[in-house]
């Protein structure tokens, strides 16, 4: 399951981001009628097609795997959080339909109608992502039901869907999807531009990718801050684990880097900024931040993993925001980012940054919630299937996904990114 999700999240992220790039490129084609934009839109639509197909089938696997691996969880949570999944189903349906229209309809539709089909793909893709994140957010802040005799009663699916974590998490994830795709595409083309500065194809691709990457990476800083404040309120154990914060303190320090040691209850090798954690989490330099010592060890998430993953996510996010600010500066000065060699190098280096940050962020929210599958309600081992020998399907799916990942990467490279030597 973890493997399927880790794989699916990459495709989902690209699946949300790519249609936007594709639609922006086609709009440029409609406006300027320069063939380079059409070429770009067509190539990106191919990329979208490949990613969507693999995303769709890996998503199918997930919808079954929820039950195959967590039957108890689903029996319990299905009625409560099924609502966003049902809506997601329809959004996904719309996306599939209009992607078919878009991909095979270049010659059958007017340019304008075709463009709108692309917009429908981009919008429904984003919406379906939002719904899925709503369901995940519920696992972090379960609302919309009360417990009686170990069973959920007074179920309110709307309240569950619009749980307090839903909006912050959905905004964070959507921005992450755009930033990740934008930086990945920008990075690849920046790398190509370092060799061939004049290629109109790569210049066009870089421009569109940055339109998406820059605003989302900058907004993500704000959204990340809001998310952290929310976690501080609703899941203080998670916050403590994120920060490797063992002892309750007023004016707590923010740790950058470092390795928490659960045995000695210390986080070593970290750069500490006095009082900063209290300020970031609660907006007050002297606020009390509860340490892990407040909770019994059986309720701790794996501290080291959570802390390190969080550091990776925040670190890469900050780097991307810095790069975005640099691009913004160039834009203000009316200079093309493609003519700034050092920026191109940075962008090329940041190509995988978004993916790594997304995976790290996913580890943060999932591992940080352990030992609970539903925060404070159900523990993970209680939810798992009674089926023995789960390692067999796990290995099978892992191999399958690795294989698919390699093929997809190779196809994207050979069919879309590489330019003809013209």
């Amino acid at each position: 399951m973890a493997m399927s999700l880790a794989f699916h999240i990459i495709f989902a992220v690209m699946g949300i981001g790519m249609p936007l790039l594709m639609v922006l490129a086609e709009r440029q084609w409609i406006r300027t009628r320069q063939p380079v934009w059409l070429d770009l839109a067509k190539r990106w639509s191919k990329g979208t097609a490949i990613l969507f197909a693999v995303g769709a089938v890996s998503g199918t696997v997930l919808s079954f795997e929820l039950g195959l691996l967590w039957p108890t969880f689903m029996e319990y949570a299905g009625p409560i959080i099924g609502m966003p999944f049902s809506l997601e189903g329809f959004a996904f349906f719309t996306e599939a339909i209009f992607l078919g229209v878009y991909l095979y309809g270049w010659t059958r539709l007017s340019a304008r109608a075709h463009w709108w089909a692309g917009v429908a793909v981009a919008v429904s893709g984003t919406v379906s992502g939002v719904f899925v994140v709503f369901a995940n957010a519920w696992m972090n802040s379960p609302t919309g039901f009360t417990m009686a005799d170990g069973k959920p009663v007074a179920v309110d699916p709307i309240a569950a869907m619009l749980n307090p974590a839903a909006i912050p998490q959905a905004v964070h994830m959507t921005l992450a999807a755009f930033a990740t795709t934008g930086f990945a595409v920008a990075g690849i083309h920046a790398w190509m531009l370092r060799k061939d500065r004049s290629s109109p194809f790569h210049r066009a691709a870089l421009t569109v990718a940055l339109w998406v990457a820059v605003p989302s990476a900058l907004l993500q800083v704000v959204s990340g801050d809001l998310s952290a404040k929310f976690v501080a309120q609703s899941q203080p154990v998670k916050l403590a684990a994120l920060e490797g914060h063992f002892r309750t303190a007023r004016g707590a320090a923010l740790r950058i880097g470092g390795l928490p040691d659960e045995a000695t209850r210390e986080t070593r090798y970290a750069l500490e900024i006095p009082k900063a954690l209290s300020f970031l989490a609660f907006g007050d330099f002297d606020a009390e931040v509860k340490g892990l010592e407040e909770w019994p060890e059986e309720d701790w998430p794996p501290v080291a993993v959570t802390h390190v993953a969080f550091q990776i996510m925040v670190g890469l996010g900050s780097l991307m925001a810095l790069a975005a600010a640099w691009v913004l500066l160039l834009w203000v000065r009316r200079r093309a980012p493609a003519d700034a060699p050092r920026l191109l190098t940075l962008l090329a280096l940041l190509t995988p940054a978004g993916f790594i940050a997304v995976e790290a962020g996913w580890v943060v929210t999932e591992v940080g919630r352990q030992p609970w599958i539903i925060q404070g309600v159900m523990r993970t081992p209680d939810a798992v299937t009674p089926m023995p020998g789960l390692v067999v399907p796990f290995i099978a799916f892992t191999l399958l996904y690795l294989f698919l990942g390699v093929i997809v990467a190779w196809l994207l490279w050979s069919q879309i990114i590489r330019t003809r030597s013209a």
Binding site: G67, L68, S86, F92, F93, Y104, V155, Q415
Partner: protein
Amino acid sequence: MPEPLLPHLLAGATMLALNAYVVLGGADFGAGVWDLLATGPRKEAQRDTIAHGIGPIWEANHVWIILVVVLLFTCFPAVYATLSVALHIPLVLMLIGIVLRGSAFTFRAYDSTDSPVQRWWGRIFSITSTVTPFVLGLSVGALVSGALEVPATATFAERFVAPWLTPFALALGAFTLAIFAFLAAVYLTIEAETQALQEDFRRRALAAAAAVAVCAIATLLAGRETVSQLTDALFTRRLALPLQLVTAVAALTAIAALWTRRYHLARAAAVLQVSGIVWGWALVQYPWMVPGVHSITSAAAPEVTLRLVSYGLVGGTLVLVPSLWFLFRLFKGDHRSAFERVDTAEYRSSTDTESGDPR
């Protein structure tokens, strides 16, 4: 005593989505079977017809199964949990099939570099297209036969293998495969661009019809012992007779229309026939969702969830139906004057089966 309406409505909607998946997605699998069995001088032309026929629509068709799963775990979570524990092994196999098939088809379509690799993708696509429906039928067979009622103390083999490794389930697997192949061949007679290709698919459709008949008899024979109560129901329930009749007439019409080369009629009849079979299955099991374990009412989620999901369904349908109509009109409509008429016939046939919904 009136049964609670809402669970039945949603069970019906789930069944309708499954019906759509079988009629649309099933044919995509069937097309893969004909890709595997492509022979003769027009081998490559057959494969091209198949690829063009399913290219724009297979992803939309595929979403029906996701809708089924989502409705199941939202509205009937206990059923979903039971199925996914007992049928873990076949479902995993089916998923691997679905993943490989969809990916291979897309990779083949977008990889224009060299043909050996393409052929390789084609091979994977067609083989998984063949295996997956078989496993799907197998799972349904295990469900229908009531074999999922196993105590948790049973051994691994009793609990996770025995329910689906029965002659009945195997026969139903073969039956499903034959039905999907039949549907696909019938649709492809209309997709075919030349007379010769059309004849190829016509012969295939007739052969598949024969295979369907053989498999149906085998399934009934194999099921006589294990699921006698259920087969009884197939003949004694109040609505059973009309439904049987409609299915049989549709089947004969489909074959006769193929014989006389009236392909649009054949398509409408085939859709009606297969829908009749799907609803026949529903009727046989009614009111059980998992025979002996969960009934429609006992497994239903809280009323508020059901109500909200049904609103969601209505809203979703309002978006979905025009979009789907647009998609099919765009790719299945032009240069085929007779299409509009058949499309309405298809629509009518699916509403017919809906009103044949056992209550």
